[in-house]
Amino acid sequence: MKRRSLIKAVTLSAGLAAMGMSWTLQAAETIKVGILHSLSGTMAISETSLKDMALMTIDQINAKGGVNGKMLEPVVVDPASNWPLFAEKSRQLLTQDKVAVVFGCWTSVSRKSVLPVFEELNGLLFYPVQYEGEELSPNVFYTGAAPNQQAIPAVEYLMSEDGGAAKRYFLLGTDYVYPRTTNKILRAFLHSKGVADKDIEEVYTPFGHSDYQTIVANIKKFSAGGKTAVISTVNGDSNVPFYKELANQGLKATDVPVVAFSVGEEELRGIDTKPLVGHLAAWNYFESVDNPTNQRFVADWKAYAKAKNLPGADKAVTNDPMEATYVGINLWAQAAEKAQSTDVDKVREALAGQSFKAPSGYTLTMDKTNHHLHKPVMIGEIQDDGQFSVVWETEKPLRAQPWSPFIQGNDKRPDYAVKGN
């Protein structure tokens, strides 16, 4: 008995030593990359899947031999939906872990919080979510959409005959920087199209608002004055009660279509979509896009979710920010290969003009100067199975305009990245 436990202990410690040795061996040859997504708190609902997607992409790159002959080693931290903690964690990633690049953030406020850290320490951040623009840092690459790659084409579609030729617009958003800036741009755009202020209504709700009775009643009242469309920048959890209320009050997409900028496949997982068929969302990618690259991407993701036993793996879906994460990591790997280095300045230079065949079915190119991807725009209709069917898309990827021409003073801004901008 005693001897047996001794044998056990010896094997165990030998095993541990071997593991430690292999770890040190490996550590010498890996490139560390940071993953900065909230895994707890309010944003966990959206950001957890981005962390998993990043890990899957890193696995895939490692399976192909890594970058410059070295394996990628992900360093995952949890900023817990706490904006100041984002800055703290990114400083830790850059100074202690010495990561070559960070993939992360979702809300604009978290990005704004880490921006000074990345600029001070000359780090590199890939930001994968559509946002309001008005920013262009040399230390950030934006793989999500700028307003002209999502919001404006969506409104143009609503104005077209197929979109219902809407005359009145109800702008509904959560009360923070992204919806407010987007709506400011949209209002100026609608003015330029001859829509008067009396035909535009702008309403904001707090984060996590759950009682949409009054707002839906107001939408109904507003829509009696002419063909109305709702443009929703409602974020996160509030979407479920909003759509439930819409359905229960009998407001159908044929009467008043709602186009949402923050509702994707992942958000629809929490909703019974049968009453919502016909409502719209504007993105640069949908899971239902039919092409071989996407089929492989979706299949890989489902297999990964199952293999890693992620919660809800049997119903795993992909969405736009996940695709943007995937594209961003691959673009970075390509650029690092091209630069033969992971040095931030060299990679930044190599990233300009770098292109990648994305699951959206297009070859996306990183702009030569403005750090944003050229992206196609797609309008999708909600289907009864929680997926979107694309009803309209641009012919080719659009160049981003981070400084929207619909905001005064932006015409004087340079179209390249400047620190502190």
Partner: protein, 497 residues
Amino acid sequence: MSKAFYTLLLLLLLPLAAQASEGEFFITAKPTDQARLLQNWAAQPDPARLALLSALKQGRIGADDSRKVRLNNRLRGLIDNALASHQLLSEDVAVRLAAAQYLQKSAQPAQVAFLDRRLASEPDKGVKAALALALASLQLGASEPRVRLAAVRLLGETGDPQARTRLETLLEPGVESDSTVRTAAQTSLAQVERKLLIGELLGQAFSGLSLGSILLLAALGLAITFGLLGVINMAHGEMLMLGAYATYMVQVLMQRHLPGAIEFYPLVALPVAFATSGGVGMLLERTVIRHLYGRPLETLLATWGISLILIQAIRLLFGAQNVEVSNPGWLSGGLQVLPNLVLPYNRLVIIGFALAVVLLTWLLLNRTRLGLNVRAVTQNRNMAACCGVSTGRVDMLAFGLGSGIAGLGGVALSQVGNVGPDLGQSYIIDSFLVVVLGGVGQLAGSLWAAFGLGIANKLLEPQIGAVLGKILILALIILFIQKRPQGLFALKGRVID
């Protein structure tokens, strides 16, 4: 002879062939042509086309044709419109009535001639009236003043928000030249606006009641754990969340094993949620809270820690994403009371449910032995113990009861909002507000506070917006508590220590 026979056969088959080929034609046409086709069909309905249109509404061109038609919202609207106009030819009075009512909203100018013919030949009185109204909104642009006058008068009878817009457009300078029609339009507009105002006020009152009932359900459990037992229970929100997740589990299990009775899963979920939350509550009371009675600060920290643990545990088990809890058929949709007032069924049921839970809790506390013991223990622990009440057991049961009621609240919340790990976080502050405002230790206080807060919130929201409304309510409550620290209702007597 044979030639005549073939012609006859052809003629007989024609409607069938026409239908099939129309479907074929439709599926291959461009969206703009499809739209034109639907408009033509709507203006000249043909009974043979009904099957095609019904199939199109489902996104197909025939019941046994598996091909999908790609539709957008514009086409869906036109299909609905064409279908309604075909249904006017139906034998069934109810179908015709529904179709006529639908056309009141969506009739197109091209349909005037057809509607006119139907109006003349319609035998049923109700359908006739509905048709006349559908026609009236189109006839505002008619060339004869007499027709316009009749239409304007008819529109005054409705309480439809669209009638207001149409009358307002008519009254814009330069649109209507005939002065009699103008005056009639003004009278009608005033009539319509009065009706709309009634609908709006009722709607506001209803949404206030509904928000109040939700606040009440969220707070009722806390009224016991915090109000009666005095435990500052930060994990109360998580009891709501557990109830909602129990509902989700019941839904999933019934979908798998009892698909026939899935419609009634919320009813099955009620006892399950009560038992789950109540069980967890009793466990917490025995293991943690019991040791902290009389130390409010430690209780606050400990229960807050428990709430974090519960949230993360649920996140590990079910994932960070929200889970789908769907409304069963009888809780979807709403009751159309007035043209601008729909009362959603789920909200109606929740109001009733909230009141029922209050009643049951009240009965339990005031009419049973357990209730007597609970009140005795919370009012004077030592005296109760002297009289032979097992205070420990009563504490556990009372805490379990409060948690279980929170679980029931969770079932109701799952029908109106999100079910996710953070569900409780968004209700905990509101719950404390209700209990503190209502007066600690009083069920009636919570009842009044919940409905009062709900209605005040809904009265303020249209005026100053949701964000400012919430801030103002908070400020008002702070002022109120300054003036009256014991809340709306205070326990009277010398028993309070």
